[in-house]
């Protein structure tokens, strides 16, 4: 763990506005991106991102300075998204007109591919989706995801493997594969 993070946290605990601003700016893209993926709703993601940071600052004294800050914050984000989804399930479904994750027009089927992947992610159960997004989009290691979600590394691997297989099956069902190439990068 970098001592710089510990210093930043201590300054935040003292109530220094500049440190609070630094911490928010450092992690807001990650938190917002995760929330958008998990909630599939940009406006909700904005609200939950605010909640996540308020929760982070309120719980900052409980952060273990021996561990990196990012997985801890991402774990809070996943928990807040889970809570939000439970609450949202009790409310009427809202249409997200602001959803902007669809890519621009493309000559090939990449737009359709991205759209299918997003749809496939939306069908995953939350635990699988969280692990998938944290690993593939946020580049988190298994150990960090395990710390964030408070689960054993083995469980995280199992969830990620199952999530991939479900996404792959959907891509196959939706005809997103061709027989021309099976080389993986």
């Amino acid at each position: 763990v970098s001592s710089e993070e510990a210093v930043l946290v201590r300054r935040c605990l003292r109530g220094e506005a500049e440190a609070v601003q630094t911490l928010v700016e450092r992690f807001q893209s990650e938190v917002f991106g995760l929330c958008v993926r998990l909630l599939n709703h940009r406006h909700d993601a904005e609200d939950v991102t605010q909640e996540v940071f308020l929760r982070v600052f309120r719980s900052l004294r409980r952060w273990d300075s021996q561990r990196p800050l990012k997985p801890w914050i991402m774990g809070i984000a996943v928990n807040r998204c889970r809570t939000w989804m439970v609450q949202r399930a009790r409310r009427p479904e809202l249409v997200d007109y602001l959803h902007d994750t669809a890519p621009g027009p493309a000559a090939d089927d990449s737009a359709e591919l991205v759209s299918e992947i997003q749809a496939a992610l939306g069908e995953l159960r939350l635990e699988y989706r969280s692990v998938f997004v944290l690993f593939h989009e946020h580049g988190q290691a298994y150990e960090d995801i395990a710390a964030a979600l408070d689960r054993p590394v083995g469980t995280i691997k199992t969830w990620l493997h199952r999530a991939r297989l479900e996404v792959l099956d959907r891509l196959r069902r939706r005809g997103m594969i061709s027989e021309v190439n099976h080389e993986l990068p």
Partner: protein, 244 residues
Amino acid sequence: MNCPECQDLLQRRLDGDLPPARTALDGHLAECAECRARHIAAQRLADGLRLLPRPVPPAGLAQRIVSRALEQRRTDRAWRRRTWTAAAVAAGLLLLVLAGYQLNRSGVFDDPGGRGSASREGATPRAKKTARARHDHAPGGKGGPFLNETIQEAGTAALALTRRTAGETVAQARRLLPGSTLTLPPLKPETPLTPALDPSAESLRQAGQGMTAGLRPVAASARRAFGLFLREIAPMNPEPQSGS
């Protein structure tokens, strides 16, 4: 290579690990349509993940979060301060109530010398208390002896402390101003303190007795502490003025 091994390899590839045995994999994929389809899908998935646009936070989100976080901090601190104050007041009140209850049970309020009708054998504690209260309240009675004695005692102690402090101050002043003729007006050594409590109601007198009994040890401790404090203070030694 069989299908489970092929699946394991697929997961490792998506993990970013490079497969060691390329030939065996190619051989299996050439034979197994199911595994081949999955591997092709995995490649498409890897391509698609690179194309996924990263959601960009709206402008001003960070500032809104910072404002709310600082506001929340102020609110939390104010709330914590109020909570601690309320808890301290509640704890103090509870201690007073417990002390009063304990003293009442231990019979401190009862007449220790067996004055008046309270000393009669067979009288209940409540009757004793009432009788003694009547005795104290009656004209010619001692009139709230406990509290008055304590006040008298405290007054004497305060007088002694005042005299000592004033004497030291005058001594310091004489050292500072050698030419002056400061004198301390004589204090009446035995100025009697008039009884401060004229009990007008039995309940008030009883409450006063309870308070006295509770505060007597505190007052004694405070006197001792103040005495120690005065002893610990270094005497003020003014620098001698050169040229004077």
